[in-house]
Amino acid sequence: MPRRKIPTKAELIQLQKLYKTDEKIAERLGNISPQLVAYWRRKKNIPKHSFPKFSRQEIADLWERFGDDYRCGLELGISKAAFYNWRRKYGLKEKPAFLKLEQLELDLGGPSKSTGRKANYGHQTITQKILAETAGLERVEPGEMIEAEPDLALSNDNTEQVIRQFLSFGLSYVWNPNRIVIALDHNAPVSSLAAAEGHRAIREFVKRQNIKYFYDVREGISHQLIIERGHILPGQFGVGTDCHATSYGSIGAFATGIDTEEMAAIWATGKIWIKVPPTIKIIINGRMPIGVFAKDVILFVASKLKCDGAVYRAIEFNGNAVSQMSISERFTMTNMAMELNAKAAICSFDTITRRYLSGRTKMPYRPALPDKDALYDETYEFNIDQLVPQISCPDKVDNVETVADRAGLPVDQVVIGSCTNGRFDDLRIAADIIKDKKIHPEVRLLIFPGSREIYLEALKKGLIRALVEAGAMIMSPGCGCCTGLHQGILAAGERCLATTNQNSRGQMGSPEAEIYLVSPATAAASALRGVITDPTGYFK
């Protein structure tokens, strides 16, 4: 009898998604015991499928509030039949006695059963679909102003200002403590007394308000944490008091940066007004040549579209190059899209996104995909087959040249990290180049891992050791010198090569310092040579 082929990890995950329990998977594969499936799972480190659990209190509250299986199911992200089963389990057979305000509103033209993405309205971009869904409308058009409830409200060190504004309203509790995420990353750990006082005020507020998702200075950069911990999901709408919130488009969410005053208003009312932006479609085709990375691609796009290329518009990244990119690479693209002044940037949801999110979230989600006949404001198409490493020169991000053009300029400081390029694969690229060599004695190489998770993984895989042996400094995960606050401020006349996202005058300290933006590979190669270096030669 031939030996049964053991399914690969991906196959097993796929099976688990479809059939949930070990028994069902065994039944599907036929002729094997559930215990064998469980054994494979343990070998491949796949956790047991967990069904969502809802407490009686939760179910009873929702039932009391809406009195409708479909509406309650929507709130929990389950079907109406599933909700019906849950309430039968807890013995809630009768309709609630009183008609509640929400039900009245429901009848007065609120979200009705016909809304949702299943219906085919046509001509809609991802942005339109997500915003229509959050606003409870059938469809929205670019230029329309809508009022929406965000699925995520992120704030960082400037939470202190939000708190001050919020308290001035005279309210005692925030709108929804489970949708608020606070991560201290700009000043981590604090560098001044004023900032320390601010952090203390934030910690006290978080405790008082029962905000579950609070990440203290040890955890890392807010944007990285949001994606890593599954705080925003495909098809959702998020806002953050940091302009690089556009990064969440990497998993197919619409997210944008707002002011602290607006955040305070959200904490109070749960609502924000937003003008539906038109969408630009950017198609990127081709294969990334050796030594070229997502950062080079987006810098190239920036050089073509210029800094005002996407003002008040959303970007959709498309094309076969983007669909082959990892979430980390898409993160780099959507993060830098903010430098084109885009309101949001989105890569559409696909199997790569699904795989990334499995294990990071237990919540169900409904991704938004663009219609085939979606109407775009403008469409750009680029081919990256012949792309060479790019460098963004001072003082503007769109001032882009090829690295070869600027090669040979001496460098004082090299920074690898930030929300743009501080993930594990970025560190690995840098470590692969630097490993077993010594960096130039006149160069200071600063490494900022994006989060504690990335830091730990890099530590386990030996990247940190390789980097430190070569002469790099490992800083605590955070925004560090990218914000010009601390940890590597530049003096006048110094030249810095950074994998960060902004290079305006005085961004990292002295206005007379020069900041060049590059990919981690260019940064690492330049750190070795002490001058700006094209990294292509380091890849064999």
């Binding site: 504004q165 001035s168 005279g170 002011d259 005053e261 208003a265 008040y312």
Partner: protein, 162 residues
């Protein structure tokens, strides 16, 4: 909600720093801010605006950073509203969040400065001598913000009503 005023004509690409150059003056005194309004345009005979004016401008009004002081200066000078073909991203949001009516519309070229015009925000209509121009009217939640004089006052009012 209806606002009226006399027109002040401005061109394309008026950046926030042209509206209010704050290098010399960091004070938030309304009178001082109003005096510096449009000082960044550079022209010696740049428009001096008066109370109750409505600005009519071209493309990209208020682009660039520093939009908040520019809006505060415009309000300090008593500007009633702004009509432009397009606005800078931050300028647009912040103007509405500070209660400054701001309308995206292209006015006909024949419009002269100093003319009396009327903007009907809820109806989406601009009436000027010799014609009318329609724009997408403001939804209720935006009108509430503008009537209250900004996002923060409108939230405060909403909270105290609760």
């Amino acid at each position: 909600m209806i606002i009226t005023g006399r027109t002040v004509l401005l061109g394309d690409n008026i950046s926030a720093r042209m509206i209010y150059p704050d290098e010399g003056n960091k004070s938030l005194n309304p009178a001082e801010m109003a005096a510096l309004l449009f000082n960044g345009i550079g022209d010696t005979d740049h428009p001096r605006s008066n109370v109750d004016d409505i600005i009519v401008a071209g493309r990209n009004f208020g682009i660039g950073d520093n939009s908040l002081p520019a809006i505060m200066a415009l309000q300090a000078a008593g500007i009633r509203g702004i009509i432009a073909v397009s606005f800078g991203r931050y300028f647009f949001r912040r103007a509405i969040n500070h209660g400054l009516p701001i309308i995206e519309a292209e006015m006909p070229g024949g419009l002269a400065g100093g003319q009396q015009i009327e903007i009907n925000l809820s109806g989406g209509k601009i009436s000027f001598p010799g014609g009318e121009k329609f724009f997408q009217p403001y939804p209720d939640f935006i009108l509430r913000i503008i009537e209250a004089g900004g996002l923060i006052p409108s939230v405060t009012a909403g909270v105290s009503r609760r």
